[in-house]
């Protein structure tokens, strides 16, 4: 059974005006799955809908078989889905440690072990634990955002453009971290603008266009598919930036 199973999801920002028109996705344990597609394809909206942040008007989201479609956002977190939004994903006015504690809001009891585990996983954060998050570099902020989402021990980790705006060296580091997390048994689902690099770091991928599934396959198949490469991986005609 897949860890996360999304079937025929219909969702959008305004009720009655969906931008996602029936998307189906599966992510298994230990797997990294990437959603790619042009701007406006509804990739981010799919993640927000799973997280309960936008209105879901049809279809189902199942987490290890449990239907979590109708849960409000704060219960989706307790159910086991962690989400790292693209922008504003750390509380800049709180310290690093406070960010992690807020990330563990749904956990009752001592957070000591979880905090130490987060600092062990993301060592640069340990030295900065009492500094405000606004003092962190872009890469450190992304680390904090991921560490924050991991505080609840989620079964599924979703990331919206985790490498946007990061230096190439840091991008590799983020993908390496995600692979490490997947190996611990987490199902990772991400949306990436930087599609080629993301697919190289992924097991499988889905191409979405206009709020619908277009192509799906292993990362290798998608990378080798000339039609996908042409349209979505920075092929010459539609490329917005040079292929990396």
């Amino acid at each position: 059974m897949s860890r996360l199973e999304v079937s025929e999801l219909v969702a959008g920002y305004i009720r009655g005006l969906p931008v996602v028109h029936g998307v189906s996705i599966e992510v298994a344990r230990r797997e990294i799955v990437t959603l790619i597609g042009p701007n406006g394809a509804g990739k981010s909206t799919v993640l927000k809908a799973i997280a309960g942040l936008v209105s879901r008007e049809g279809g189902h989201v199942r987490l290890a078989g449990r239907d979590v479609t109708a849960l409000p956002a704060h219960e989706v977190v307790s159910a086991g889905i962690g989400f790292v939004p693209q922008t504003g994903n750390v509380f800049t006015t709180l310290t690093v440690q406070e960010n992690l504690k807020v990330g563990a809001h749904v956990i009752r009891g001592s957070l000591h072990e979880r905090l130490e585990r987060a600092y062990a996983l993301f060592s640069p954060l340990a030295a900065r634990r009492h500094l405000r998050a606004r003092t962190l570099s872009g890469g450190e902020r992304q680390m904090l955002a991921i560490a924050r989402a991991l505080m609840t021990d989620p079964a599924v980790l979703m990331l919206d453009e985790p490498t946007a705006g990061l230096a190439p060296r840091v991008v590799d580091e983020v993908f390496r971290q995600l692979r490490g997390l997947a190996e611990t048994g987490i199902a990772v689902l991400m949306v990436e603008q930087n599609a080629k690099a993301a697919l190289r770091a992924s097991d499988r991928g889905y191409v979405l266009t206009e709020g619908r599934n277009r192509v799906a396959g292993s990362a290798r198949e998608l990378l080798d598919d000339p039609a996908v490469a042409e349209a979505f991986l920075g092929g010459r005609r539609l490329s917005a930036r040079p292929a990396g």
């Binding site: 942040l53 509380f91 800049t92 809001h105 609840t152």
Partner: protein, 302 residues
Amino acid sequence: MIQPVIGQALADGILTGAIIALGAIGVTFTLGIMRFANFAHSELLTWGGYIALVIVAFAGPGTPTGPLSFGWQLLAAALVAAVLTGLAAWGVDVLVFRRLRRRGAQPLTMVFAAFGAALVMRHLVVLVWGHESRFYTRELQMAVELVPSVRVLPDQIFILGLALTVMVALQAFLTRSRTGMAMRAMAESPALAQVCGIEVEAVVRLTWIISGALAAFAGVFIGLTPQLHPEIGFNLLLSLFAAAILGGTGSLTGAVVGGFLVGLAENLSLLVISPGYKGAMPFLLLLVILIVRPQGIFGERS
């Protein structure tokens, strides 16, 4: 003779400042977490004062304890009034603001709704108690001379101590408790707070209850020094907003410092200008801060 007069103005300013600070904390919380200017907040001060009056009417203000003009009964009344005013603040939210929030109302719509709520709340007080002044206690108090020519009432010193205690406790709650941190998280980003599993409506409810409770303390303190009337809150409205904006919206420390600065400015102004212009002092401070540091003293540039 100018020094002693300054001393008295400073003492008065600090006492007024403590009361303004208690009210301004609620204003800054609504601005920071609910993101609108709640012009009905001042009426919660009035409600708190009158709710305590009802309790005192039944239980009595207590026999004067030591140099104070009241006994423990009045303190108990203030506590009950704080709880009830907190619930009333939440009640107004359920009746008015929450409905608008759910329809995606703009902040300006919320402000107009707040004006409406303020009018209704104030006139409910007039309807029940009338326009005349009310007193918790008719005990006469002798002012004590702290330093030469600076006279304060023992009640005022007690109130100052209590107000400071409440503020310190609130600060500890916000920085150390799980719920307090959730409130600070909400103040920065409701969207990210939701992603962290924080139930937004629960934080909103708690924010109203805390704001209302602090407003009630401020209202009771005004009523003690020396009287209640239906405009006690309204008369402070601009001072409360000046204090909140001066300190930086969303910041507890800001509201407290802002409250004391506004209180001091109002009272010190009496040394140089006629009392008629005292009400303009908060505006002057606001103008200066908006030009020099628009985000307020403790505000974060967004």
